[in-house]
């Protein structure tokens, strides 16, 4: 078990993972709320759909969602700038220390929050502890074609690079780690480093507004670092000390 003294205070300075490796910048002034990223993520990552009733109970499994709020009252009403919210890949992630079987663990190599599906026993502590509400739980077997014959044809689309999850397992955005690995393998086999912009996540690739940029935050030359350095940037709930790797550029 984890030694209690290893668990830092909330908000404490936490050196490990501070630098980060992969990060994202999302420009809220450009995001139109169109949902192309949500569809792209779901198709890339074998995210299950749950149907009308379960989605009404909040069991839908979107790994990325577009938040928007209303301000004021008619006619002085405004919608706040759309904010796509996905796993923030925290350097100091609240989900990790509470997972008894270490299913939610930190990747030292990639500085990402991993979710090891075959370790997950479904305590859902991680989801309770995530301040961003980006973890989704498989309340049922949404991907079993013995239970839903429609999946016999639909499952042809599943991405063989990504695990298909089953009931009782927690899941979340992985920063498309399968794409990261593929790009790294390719670069390695060609004896070079992964170039900035050589690949991107499914959500960023689809986004028709080009609102999402993905890349190496530990490389000051990368596009994502340049964009994050603008004074419009802020991080979601960063006062909690979670060291999120997603920077939001504020709306106009």
């Amino acid at each position: 078990m984890m030694n209690k003294s290893n668990i830092p205070e909330v908000g404490a300075n936490f050196a490990e993972g501070e630098q980060g490796k992969w990060g994202m910048v999302i420009d809220r002034d450009l995001c139109t709320g169109c949902q192309a990223c949500v569809a792209a993520c779901s198709m890339e990552n074998n995210v299950a759909f749950v149907g009308e009733e379960d989605s009404g109970y909040g069991r839908s499994m979107h790994w990325i969602r577009i938040e928007r709020f209303w301000e004021g009252e008619y006619p002085e009403v405004k919608m706040t700038s759309q904010q796509p919210v996905l796993c923030q890949q925290c350097g100091h992630a609240p989900c990790e220390p509470v997972c008894p079987p270490f299913a939610a663990v930190h990747s030292q190599a990639e500085q990402l929050n991993l979710q090891v599906y075959n370790r997950c026993v479904g305590t859902r502590y991680c989801a309770n502890n995530c301040p961003y509400q980006v973890r989704v739980f498989n309340w049922r077997d949404y991907t079993d074609d013995r239970l839903d014959p429609a999946l016999v044809t639909l499952k042809n689309q599943y991405n063989p690079d990504v695990t298909v999850r089953r009931r009782g397992v927690m899941e979340k955005c992985t920063f498309c780690i399968q794409r990261i690995h593929k790009a790294q393998d390719k670069a390695k086999s060609e004896g070079r480093e992964v170039a900035d912009g050589e690949f991107t996540t499914a959500c960023a690739q689809a986004c028709p507004a080009n609102a999402i940029t993905f890349g190496r935050v530990d490389n000051p030359e990368s596009l994502v670092s340049q964009l994050a350095g603008q004074n419009r940037g802020s991080k979601l709930l960063e006062e909690l000390g979670t060291l999120p790797q997603v920077t939001y550029l504020n709306g106009g």
Partner: protein
Amino acid sequence: MSKNFSRRDFLKLAGVGAATTAVLTGCGPASKYVTRQQYLEMPEYNYNGQSTYYATTCRECAAACGLVVRTMQGRALKVDGTANHPVNFGKTCARGQAALHGLYNPDRVTDPVQRTARGGDATTIMGWDAAVQTVADALKNNQPSEIAFLMGMAPDHLFDLVTDLAKTTGINAPVRFGALGAFESRTTLSKASEVVFGQASIPFFDMGGADVVFSFGANFLETWLSPVAYTRGFSNMRRANHTKQRGYFVQFEPRMSQTAAKADEWIPVVPGTEGLVALAIGKLAAEARGVSMPRAFAGVDAADVAVRSGVKLETLERLAGMFANSASALAVPGGAALGQSNGLGTAEAVLTLNALADNLGKPGGVSFSPVSPLNDEYHRPASMKEMQDFIQQMAAGKFKVLFVHGVNPAFELPASLDFAGASANVGQIISFSTFPDETALLADYVFPDHHSLESWGYQRAATGAAQSVLSGAQPVVSPYFNTRSTVDVLLAAAQLAGGDFATALPFADEYEFIQNKVSVLVGEAGGLFSAPDLPTFIAYFQQHGGWWKTEAGFVTPSAPDALNRNINVSEAQFAGEGEFVLLPFVSPTLGEAGANKPWLQELADPTTTVMWNTWVEINPVTAHELGLENDDVVKIVSEAGELEVPVYLYPAIRPDVIAIPFGQGHTAYGRYAAGRGANPAKLMGPHFNEAGDIAFAGMKVKLEKTGRQQFLSRLESRMGVYGEGMGEEH
């Protein structure tokens, strides 16, 4: 010749050519498809774990975005945009992403069938030989004037084939229709463009280069005309860089759409006064610039417009000043503003603002996209008035046989036009639908076409691209079911029918037909690639996903007199009675045909976050006056029909307007669509504007309580909006 060309040979060719990407192509009938195999068995050209990518064209709407589909051993896994395609530059909308849920939909039509009785589910499976014979008999045994084709806005190669057939044989020219086109009021836009700019086509609005954009109800971030291209334009407009400042965007419309939600200012005008507002802004802007008053705006009284439109005079003056002082101002007329009795005048007024801004043909202004290769003119879809005429001909028994492809009129047309009733007087209806939709249920035969991702073809980009584009389609996987290409069916049937039919279509198969069509481009200069001969050209065409010019080819509208003519924006007439104006809008996530794709159903609507259903949006204050809460089911009664829908308290809609999305309310179309939500087409009466488009935003309706509740699934927290809990008062 193509038959001698193997996939291996092609790979060699592709390796020599411009093969910077790993995009492949099928190479002719001999190797048309890659068949689906177990992941354990490797086809010759695959490495373990490696994907093959095919370039093709999206057919989820008619915008002609280029796609690259990732496949592995004959399965299509992921759709993305073609990086250098001039329409979408590597991007897609949500509907394009979910195309695979159409391809692998469990409710596709699996075999050619004969229906036992129209409207019923019972069918018997036929062989394709019998199906082709049925089509041949239908062509041969009827007078040409008794044969009609009703087609969707895509694909163009099939439309061209039927057009050729009609020219030679005298059958009726194919009629094209799509609900998206109707909600975009395309006829009104092209008519107004003809009046103001002298060219009857769809103008292109270069948002990316504009400093100030005034949109009158154009939902260009949702489904309008070419949404991926316009979203790119919006993004470029918003982005400040060293050469330009961040653009300012104002949307005038009665309900805050997803597009208006991105605007810097949303101006909730009284429905039907958009044209007057445009005229008033024109007048005030001309005054602000100190130019002599153009005749187009001279007659309007801004103070009177302020009263009628509900927009304060100071606001009109402020916005007009902004428009006048901007170096690059742009005005865009959208579908709902034109879907009014006075829509044509509104379109003219808004287009004329661009003449005042002097932006015609300039960056950030209005131009015409270059016509596509293989295109003599802009092929506008039928207006609703023309559809009414078509249906009247059906009802009068003029057509002995009706072929339907790529459109679902029994769902998409207003129920008041009574397509279903008129179809009873058509001798024989043959549907080529890939899905068991409402129209296929009315058909005597369904001879299912392949899914678009299993199909050859091409599509012209009517607007949205700077270059002249012919977007190419090829199968990315082999057909999953026992379907057959409609082009192949028609080619074979034409040969069987003989006579003019056989001479009109002397092609062995669809592939040869497409080669024949694109062969005119082989020597064409200035393109993405050039090729010495047809087989090489076709190989590149497939590899790149089409052919387009490398240089922009915008055409400048000629409008010497645009400012110098009178514009008549009459008072909008509303059909029916009731305290609310009804504003139907196309669901941004479902579009006209997305309801059968489960992941599109589970996407949150961008403004309400509702999933899997239909709702009616009511201003919270109005709703509370009526004693209505979220999820209360109301009955909407129009002159033409009625509908029961749950209420969504929508904070950003005029109190005298209610709005309802179009896209749900199917009675067929597979398990994910059927029996879900409601179809506002039921409420629309046959009222048209001067251009013949339906006045879909010009209806008055009544609301009646039902006393029932139906809980909408929403992604947003039920506690979030205005502190309301699960339907309780706050």
